[in-house]
Symmetry: C2
Subunit: 428 residues, 2 copies
């Protein structure tokens, strides 16, 4: 096995440059561990003359990633361009058709086209690996696909978008409103070109959809995820949550129930001292639950050059070592259709309501809750200077149907100012 | 790939019975994921007529594990008997010689004979996998060997003995002395037949030695680990530590330095609110640090039927899928000799000293510390009824040489009662 494993790298942004650095600096280590040298044959990116902090002079250059993907001297095509369609998908398909294995960090492409690509890979006898697509440097795809292969998985959850977690923790630590921190994050280059992908929960939803497919042996079903972003979280919510011992996290949960597959990505309150509650900045955490293993928690950097390149190299080294696992852990043609189920499990909720400051207003709200069958765990009315009184309520366990019922009741009271904010509380 | 993968299981204790349950209950799942059925051909244990909660009637029985290991209808030999030598080692060697792959949960055997066994496996073209030997259900061997294969690993650490962590957390929560909780744990069957393996830090040391070999590409060097158990930890230490915001954990650390490989397993104080500090009962946590990935933290059940069987099945499923990784992640014959280095990095320490209750006693101790170049961060003298005054000191960062110097100074003061207790503080 001394034949080198030859890489073609398309995309030389942060991740691509990080991969080149590892291949260059750790050549001996990689050869020892992989049983064969790992080398780069050719690279491709949108612009050629840009300083990427790495010496690319010894690699061939291709302007077209599709041409790169088909080169005879490429064994593994590294798709590090991103984007669900366009060049990324075209080059991935070309690579598989030309008999190359594919390693990608592209969650959007796999969340939308994973089933077709996995089938194409199988038809070609090749693999698509995507450790870097989920939770950055955390080897969670491997842990779930291989490490827990003996388990019936019941639930997968986690905080998987570093940018959202950065924004939420920065709002809290600096006491800054959402828009200010959003603008900061944008200036720092933390946000995707389309920021909705991050703050709208879509990027994290892509990741959750991929993990759910592995966990439950179902076809990737991104469209069925109930997604809510962090755009409506105010600094007040963060402060009030903190007052009550909680922190707000954008949390994804996928679980198989008797009714079908529940998948949701939404802001949740978690106990401040819980493992999820202590997550700072761009750190990610994934929780895997299986019938034999119980609960496994994995934490690490969710983004950045080194962590993401580490995950890409994990896949490359697997291929060097002859490790070939099906895209979603079992034959793609055997994956079941996911039967999407609306998440109905009862949970306590945090409610923030603004009331007109008149006698009896609070009583009307409490009555509406009671009529919806929702009982109150804690309620606080904060001091206020204006004519609007902010009221916080933590409910006992209730359902979303009951909450919808209560919302309708609130609307009829005539004392509400604006819409209530309701955030699920997860006791992890 | 529809040829079944045929297992021979030697050892039907908790782990063996757990593996049988998974194979029986998840036959379809395993076949889908592994690409082939996983079946059991034969089993072996010390006593045949014992109710293990599983139906073994369809498997052949062998009294001798060595005979089991050589059977023609066994592809993978599962060594789940334990013990560093004796039948476990003999049967493992027999299995390799007969061309079988080996999956084992036996950290003692691998810590002492891992190099020879890995070389034997390579010579036979077979693999030895041991996910279950380290940190129970946490897929840490896989994460380190494969998931971080692109990293130069700098440090591996963790809480890897569930029994010790159970004893320490139970002492704290119930306010009970060491011996009482030790006896409880023994009655509950939590302790190894030789309890020193657990409370003496040896079992955890075995695990650390295995991870270090993978991390640093060095031959397993268990003998070089500086090991200290939890036997000397008193309920007072636990209370005092808690008073100051710390908890005591049996923590293993292996790190590669310019001077060589440092490996130590010892009780440490960690911040109560840190990830390690919040570990309860038999939960394990492993921290892996690499140059690209940064820090990865893995948490899960460190023992028990389900978690350990899950880890065994991870290895079995790897073999079913054709995943074949060298025992320590690279050819055993290429592993370097570990150059053991004494851990000298400075750290703050917790000191508990008992003094004769006389004027000037404390001043003498403070003077001895000053003469050793150790400065004091915090000091407390607790109320006491007797003639001995308990004094606690948290030092600023200092070295073990300075501490030894201080200890010699203490001895000369003539006011010490008994030996001082010194516990390293790790700020994680």
């Amino acid at each position: 096995m001394t034949t080198p494993l030859r890489l073609g790298i398309a995309g030389l942004g942060t991740v691509g440059a990080g991969v080149v650095k590892i291949v260059q600096t750790h050549a001996d280590l990689l050869a020892r561990r992989g049983g064969r040298p790992v080398v780069i044959s050719a690279v491709s990116a949108r612009t050629r003359d840009k300083d990427r902090g790495v010496d690319l002079s010894s690699y061939d250059w291709e302007d077209d990633p599709v041409v790169l993907a088909r080169r005879d001297d490429v064994d593994v095509f590294l798709e590090l361009m991103g984007g669900p369609d366009g060049p990324a998908k075209a080059a991935t398909e070309a690579a598989l058709a030309a008999g190359k294995d594919v390693v990608t960090a592209n969650k959007a492409m796999l969340a939308l086209h994973g089933q077709a690509l996995a089938e194409a890979a199988e038809a070609a006898g090749r693999v698509i690996r995507f450790e870097a697509a989920v939770a950055g440097g955390i080897p969670v795809v491997k842990a779930l696909t291989e490490g827990l292969a003996g388990n019936q998985i019941s639930r997968v959850m986690g905080v998987m978008n570093g940018t959202c977690n950065y924004i939420l923790t920065r709002m809290e630590s600096a006491g800054l409103p959402y828009q200010t921190v959003f603008d900061e994050a944008n200036a720092l280059g933390y946000l995707e070109a389309d920021p909705t992908l991050d703050v709208g929960g879509i990027d994290a939803g892509h990741k959750l959809a991929l993990l759910a497919a592995i966990a439950f042996g179902t076809k990737v079903d991104f469209d069925a995820i109930e997604i809510e972003g962090i755009e409506r979280i105010s600094i007040d919510d963060i402060r009030h949550a903190a007052d009550m011992g909680f922190r707000i996290k954008l949390l994804g949960v996928a679980q198989m129930t008797g009714r079908g597959l529940e998948q949701r990505m939404s802001p949740c309150l978690v106990p401040a001292s819980s493992p999820l509650g202590t997550l700072e900045n761009a750190t990610n955490m994934v929780v895997l639950e299986g019938d034999a293993v119980g609960q496994i928690v994995l934490r690490g950097a969710g983004a950045g050059e080194g962590p993401t390149a580490s995950a890409v190299m994990s896949d490359v080294m697997d291929i060097a070592r002859g490790i070939r696992v099906a895209t979603f852990g079992q034959p793609a043609t055997g994956l079941q259709d996911a039967r999407p189920a609306r998440a109905t499990a009862a949970a306590p909720y945090y409610l923030r309501i603004a009331l007109e400051d008149k006698p009896g207003a609070l009583a009307k709200i409490a009555t509406a809750l009671g009529e919806a069958g929702i009982s109150i765990d804690r309620m606080r009315q904060y001091q206020h200077a204006e004519t609007t009184a902010p009221v916080l309520i933590v409910t006992h366990k209730t359902t979303r149907d009951a909450l919808d019922h209560a919302r309708a009741g609130f609307a009829k009271t005539g004392v509400m100012v604006g819409e209530p904010v309701a955030i699920r509380i997860e006791k992890l």
